[in-house]
Amino acid sequence: MAAPKVTKTGASATTPKKRKASAESAETNAITPDRVRQLAKECLESATKLNNLVELLDNANGEVSHTALVALQHVFSKLLERGDLKRPKKSNTKSAKDPKTKVTEWLRDLRGQFVAELLMHLSAGAADKQTTALQILLGMVKHESEHHDDFQNDLFERVVEACVSNDNLSENVLELLIRDINAFDDVRYYFYKDFGKYLNAIVPAEVGAEERRSKRRKMTVDPTKLPAVVNQGLSILTKLNPPPEKDEELGHCMANVSGETSKGQKKAQPALQAHQHRQAFTECWLAFMRQPLNDEVYKQILLMIHKRIIPYMTQATLLIDFLTDSYDAGGPLSLLALNGLFTLITQHNLDYPDFYKKLYALFDRNLMHVKYRSRFFRLVDLFLASSQLPAYLIAAFLKRMSRLCLNAPPAGILAVIPQIYNLLKKHPACLPMIHKEGDLPTLPAQDPFDYDEADPMKCKAIDSSLWELQVLKSHYLPSISGLAKIFEEDLSKPVYDLEDFLDHSYQSLYETETKKKEDEEGTAAALAVHVTVTGMFQRTAKSSFWELV
């Protein structure tokens, strides 16, 4: 945001005189879209009319800004094609400048101003102006890249910056940007690269900031903008295509990189190398994760990390720290980190000490009430699937799960009971938890289970009984009370398919119940038996703590 301003002021300082003159001429002629087109036309027709550019630039912010900007883009692209914008030779700078060089320099200056104007529109303008600016900028990037046979990252970098740092980027712009990025492999590559670079620049100075800073331009990022950057970045990143697996899949580029470049093929284009893509992707994501993320973004990342990030990284193990930290954070974050962590453990050889202990710790009082419960229980089912797990561990989980059921919503209970059943079937050593052989002792049984013990090995769950399941038999929901009775019957059913039970909610349960009613239409609802009809308040008035009568 700050960068464009700098360039703009610089540019305006260089040409005060000519601007003034054009401003005077502008006063004489009322600016209309036709006039703008006329000016642009004249510009291209004769070199003497190049001053019109100044007038156009002046109008870029006014009523006819759209036309002006489009016209300017047209003029500059034509000038570029003619070669009028070619950088003058360095050797000539010190000597007396010939007028042509002067004109070129002046034109380049004007172009700089034009770009700055566009970026300003993009980063702070209204929605429609943002769209126009982005369209023009991307068009320029494309045109110049084609012209130079090389991707013009200087310009694109600034576009990315402007987009990402804008906290009220319009939906259209976002869509446009993402469409373009997904359409061209090189654009995507450079986006990852630029965005990573930008994010790294945000990192506080003390962490080796000097190296990371952009060498060419000073990147000073306002830390107050961080949340916006993070949100914007996430919304773009989640929608981008992942980098491809192989080089052959690349090739649809914005810039002409077909090989017949002037410089030959000594140095392969980075945008054509899958490895480079992945590198950029990895760095970008790592840089992103290093940012101070808010909870929502954190959850979003964790939700997709195992599917959309880890597989495309050059070195997935780099995420270990991130995931471990999230796992230790507790609460829903831990639940979500579990998924990524599991991918690392199973596919990337991560050796995670005390995994089950930590998993056990995740079964806390909030677990049954959080949104990601079903996702968690799916994983738990996976983790506890091995029949080689020790019985004490399974017992601890069983006891903990059933204890949590006592204060759980119906959907949670419905997810847990089949799981308990499946585990009991898989681990017959745990069967004493629902059935102790031999005669019943006459003495009351103290529960040996220690809920507060964090170590499943020490909690003595295996010696306990699942009394909690008995409570569920008298749960108010008929489906639960029915399901809780399966432990009294022969455990003859092989296993329950958990998928049928995991995704319940109050709403789905409600729908099931009301649908039932529709099915058996005709049977009227049973009414209460009243010996004497009294008002509803009077009925309970005596025992109630409400002041009703």
Binding site: I434, H435, W467, V471, S474, Y506, Y510, T540
Partner: protein
């Protein structure tokens, strides 16, 4: 064939010849010894030797024969063995060894003796077979045989002529029966004295017709009767029977005449208003049969008129009679009814009814189907009754919906009213009497009869009136009960009364009975006079006796003056509002009550639709009041009117069960969709709070699955799951929902986790600000929402009151602000209420939560311990300490009860055993071991039959073969004999011819010589 496996035979030697030789040797028939003896004998004289030789030969032959017999027995080639399946030691089985040759020989011999003899005799000798009836039967006596033979012969002959059989039908001549003796008097036949007829033919008859009878030998009983005699006897007997039949017929006619004569008396008794029964004319001409009977009986009274009457009149009378008979057939007979039940019996019935409902409820709670069969039976019964129109209900069949149906019909068809007795007096005699008059047809009834009726009518009218009033007074109590439990049924009574009174009116309308006039079915809709108003008020009292009873029972003069008694039924809520504008809650209730009485569905018309509309309006009004729209300037809700409205809705719900469940379901689904759609916590509106409370009062909430209550529970659970709200009002709503949920489950004692969670978190949220909020507060409830710090009670020592419902849930923005309720007073009240509800829940769920009580309520105790009891004041302090000690006590007792689970303990399944079935007294020798002797015998018999059958077939075949063989032999013999004969003849002829030729040759020779 059997194999020669006899071991003894085998031992003795090889071939059969050898064996024969040895056996002959052993018998001294052959061998050296015999040679020696012959040698010796040669030396003796020839005669002696010859005789000796003869005797020796003879003995040898005998010996040989016996040997032959013996050897045949033992000859293995002639024996047949059947191999037994199991060799059992010491067991003898018949028929293992068979001797077919011997058997064949025996049979052959037998046949020779019998069959051959018969065959020889065939077509050569004749025989006489007696085929007469009973000839072969030894059981029959000779007389019987004779009789039967005669009958048979007769019937054979009479089969064709049975159309002309005169025996059966009585022939008449000139209208007189030929059977009558008089007819024969002319013919000079002597009349047989009937009186002395004892079945015997008298002496005279014998004398004249039987040719003087027979001699003394007649008397001999042993003598065989002749055919003629027997015939006579038969004829006499048949005549006697005919006479008897005739006599019987006459007796019947006499009896009929007698009954006909009495008929008039009976009709008089029945008080038939018949035009023909006027005193001027004879009531009715006797029927022809009657006339005949009367004539026979010598009664002359009716006869002359019968005689005089023209033919037309006769026909007329016949028609009358037919009509009368038809009437009688269609006339509904008065039936006695059951006596009125005593109050105890009514109470008992009511108790039983309630018990049955409770049983149903418990079954539903356990998820079992209710007694469907009973219901189905009742339904079909009802349908039958509706079709057949037979009324089986009793006069005081109260509180039963079937009675309502029956009564409806009564309203439609008057004639079905049963006779009703009360205290031994016929209550509705006039009903019966008027019936007769109505059925009389046209209105031009006779005056005297009318007079009579009038008299009895007025007499009985007064009686009825008094008894009616008594009845009303007596029934007041029962009426009350009834109205309370089922309003619709309560109204049946008035309908019944109306009906009864309607008939009263018809018979003798005393103008003073204003009340009954108005109540009568058709006059009701227009006006209600004062008495009716009273009735309305009465039922109002019954509906809610605690509320405005005082004012209703002793009518406030001003209110009574103001409140009209009839209303136009409101068609919309706006109508209703205008109707009830500026009325007190009690008055509104009265208005509703009167509307309900006025539009009782039993009164017909579209009252049901009107009431349905009213029901809709009431539920709308409930919402209207609950949202505070009725009192815009008030800062509190009008609880009283809510309560009264709820009473009416509960009562109406009995009549409109489907409507009420629809209403409730829309309420539930509305809240559900709001909760489901919103991402933020949603708290129900006050109207919804009230509605959910009402649902608990209307429906049977203890059912395992209930179409309304189960969804409602889920929705309320989802609301509670949202955690404590943002304001104190939300907190109050949550507590209210908790109580509603608890009430739903109070009977079935089902566990609701959300309730515990909510109440615990509420208590923690309300804890005073002095206690520091910890990151992990006690309890097991989720920490997904952090309660606003505004919930914290500043000063715990604020005296706790009841939670002001009206104030707390008053509509916001109308003078009251949320700050008004955000006081310590309300908060402490909420805290105490929550703790109290926790205590009630603990007590209620003690049983159902059972062994895990500690796990459920342990965290609650921790929460409660967080409350600084010492700081609390008064009721609050008391409540918290009581609840705390209660729960701790329950936990301790639950601990004592706890045992390890033994869910899989069940009766051990016995190992399947495969011991063979042991049969007592089994014997392998017995073929049939069936323990059932009957079946056994049958099988035995069947087997025997089969065996015999087969044997018989076999024998017959053999016989046939035998006969064929014999024939063949015969034929052969014949052929041989023939051939012999022919040969002989041919030989003779040949010799003759030869002789003749020789003679001719000689003659030729002689000729030549000559």
């Amino acid at each position: 064939m059997g194999k020669p496996t006899n071991p003894t035979v085998k031992k003795s030697g090889g071939s059969a010849l050898k064996r024969l030789k040895t056996s002959l040797q052993s018998a001294n028939l052959i061998g050296p010894q015999s040679a020696h003896s012959t040698k010796i004998s040669k030396k003796k004289n020839s005669a002696k030797r010859l005789s000796e030789l003869h005797s020796a030969r003879k003995s040898a032959r005998e010996q040989l024969r016996s040997m032959e017999a013996k050897s045949r027995e033992s000859n293995p080639f002639e024996m047949k063995f059947s191999k037994p399946k199991y060799e059992v030691l010491n067991r003898k089985v018949k028929g293992v060894v068979g001797k077919p040759g011997l058997q064949r020989k025996k049979g052959e011999e037998l046949r020779k003796k019998t069959l051959e003899v018969e065959l020889g005799r065939k077509n050569k000798e004749s025989a006489f077979v007696d085929r007469r009836f009973g000839e072969g039967d030894a059981d029959m006596s000779i007389e019987d045989k004779m009789l039967e033979r005669f009958m048979k012969e007769k019937s054979k002959r009479s089969d064709r002529s049975s159309t002309y059989n005169l025996e059966e039908e009585s022939l008449t001549h000139m209208g007189h029966s030929l059977a009558d003796d008089d007819a024969f008097l002319d013919a000079g036949l002597q009349r047989v004295d009937e009186d002395s007829d004892d079945g015997q033919i008298d002496r005279d008859t014998v004398k004249y017709t039987h040719f003087g009878g027979f001699d003394d030998e007649d008397e001999d009983p042993n003598r065989k009767k002749s055919k003629n005699e027997i015939m006579k006897e038969v004829i006499a007997k048949s005549k006697m029977h005919k006479r008897e039949r005739q006599k019987q017929k006459e007796d019947d006619q006499d009896l009929a005449a007698e009954v006909d004569a009495e008929l008039d008396d009976i009709r008089g008794l029945l008080n038939i208003a018949d035009k023909s029964s006027s005193s001027d004319k004879p009531r009715r001409a006797p029927l022809p049969s009657q006339a005949q009977a009367l004539a026979a009986a010598g009664i002359q009274a009716a006869a002359p008129s019968v005689g005089k009457r023209s033919r037309e009149e006769d026909e007329d009378n016949d028609n009358d009679y037919d009509q009368f008979v038809r009437e009688l057939a269609y006339d509904r007979r008065a039936k006695p009814t059951d006596r009125l039940k005593t109050e105890e019996e009514i109470a008992l019935e009511e108790k039983e009814r309630l018990e049955k409902l409770e049983r149903d409820r418990v079954r539903r709670m356990q998820g079992l189907p209710t007694e469907d069969e009973e219901k189905a039976a009742a339904v079909s019964d009802r349908a039958k009754r509706a079709k057949g129109g037979k009324r089986e209900t009793q006069a005081d069949d109260l509180g039963d919906e079937q009675y309502g149906i029956a009564l409806d019909k009564v309203l439609e068809r008057e004639e079905e009213v049963p006779l009703m007795y009360k205290d031994g007096i016929l209550v509705n005699k006039n009903v019966f009497l008027s019936k007769g008059r109505n059925s009389g047809g046209d209105g031009s009834g006779d005056e005297d009869e009318d007079d009579e009726e009038e008299e009895s009518g007025s007499e009985e009218g007064s009686e009825i009136e008094s008894s009616d009033e008594e009845g009303e007074e007596g029934e007041e109590g029962s009426d009350e009960e009834e109205r309370e439990d089922d309003e619709g049924d309560g109204e049946d009574d008035s309908g019944e009364e109306g009906e009864e009174d309607g008939t009263d009116l018809e018979t003798a309308p005393p103008p003073s009975r204003g009340r009954k006039q108005t109540v009568s079915a058709d006059a009701l809709s227009d006006e209600y006079e004062e008495d009716d108003g009273d009735e309305g008020e009465e039922s109002d009292e019954e509906g809610d006796d605690t509320s405005g009873t005082a004012s209703a029972r002793t009518p406030d003069p001003t209110a009574a003056a103001e409140l009209p008694y009839t209303f136009k039924a409101p068609t919309s809520h706006a109508d209703f509002l205008t109707l009830t504008a500026n009325r007190s809650p009690a008055d509104v209730s009265t208005i509703i009550q009167r509307l309900r009485v006025l539009h009782n569905p039993k009164l017909g018309g579209n009252n049901k639709a009107v009431l349905e509309t009213l029901f809709g309006i009431l539920s709308e009004h409930l919402e209207y009041v609950a949202s505070g729209s009725n009192q815009p300037e008030s800062t509190a809700l009008d609880i009283q009117i809510l309560d009264l409205l709820s009473t009416h809705i509960i009562q109406l719900s009995q009549t409109f069960p489907t409507q009420i469940s629809d209403w409730a379901l829309t309420k539930v689904s509305k809240l559900q969709s709001r909760v489901a759609k919103s991402s933020k916590p949603i708290w129900p509106t006050v109207a919804e709070l009230v509605s959910f409370k009402l649902i608990g009062s209307i429906f049977s909430t203890s059912d395992l699955v209930h179409p309304v209550v189960t969804p409602a529970m889920i929705v309320l659970g989802s609301v509670l799951e949202q955690g404590v709200g943002r304001t104190v009002v939300d907190l109050g709503k949550g507590l209210w929902i908790c109580e509603v949920v608890f009430e739903y489950q109070q009977q079935s004692k089902r566990y609701v986790p959300e309730l515990i969670n909510y109440l615990s978190s509420m208590v923690v949220a309300l804890l005073p600000s002095s206690t520091e909020p910890t990151s992990n507060p006690p309890g097991f409830f989720p920490l997904n929402t952090t309660p606003p710090s505004a919930f914290r009670i500043q000063n715990l020592s604020t005296p706790s009151t009841k939670i002001p419902f009206a104030k707390l849930f008053a509509p916001r923005g109308k003078g009251s602000k949320s700050e008004d309720v955000n006081t310590d007073e309300v908060k402490v009240a909420l805290l105490v209420g929550g703790v109290q509800l926790l205590g009630r829940a603990a007590r209620c769920w003690n049983e159902s939560v059972g062994v895990a009580f500690e796990e459920v309520f342990g965290p609650v105790v921790e929460v409660l311990k967080g409350v600084d009891v010492e700081a609390l004041e008064g009721v609050g302090k008391e409540t918290v300490t009581t609840v705390l000690t209660l729960i701790e006590g329950l936990i301790a007792s639950a601990r004592l009860k706890r045992r390890p689970l033994q869910l899989q303990k069940r009766k051990p399944v016995p190992i399947a055993t495969y011991v063979p079935r042991f049969q007592e007294h089994y014997s392998i020798d017995r073929k049939r071991n069936d323990p059932n002797t009957e079946r056994n015998n049958k099988a035995k018999l069947q087997f025997q039959y089969k065996k015999e059958f087969k044997g018989a077939v076999r024998e017959l075949r053999k016989d046939a073969a035998f006969v064929a063989r014999k024939r063949r032999e015969e034929q052969k013999e014949k052929d041989v004999a023939y051939k012999k004969k022919m040969d002989k003849l041919m030989g003779q002829l040949g010799s003759q011819e030869g002789a003749m030729r020789g003679y001719e040759r000689e003659a030729k020779k002689a000729k030549k010589r000559r």
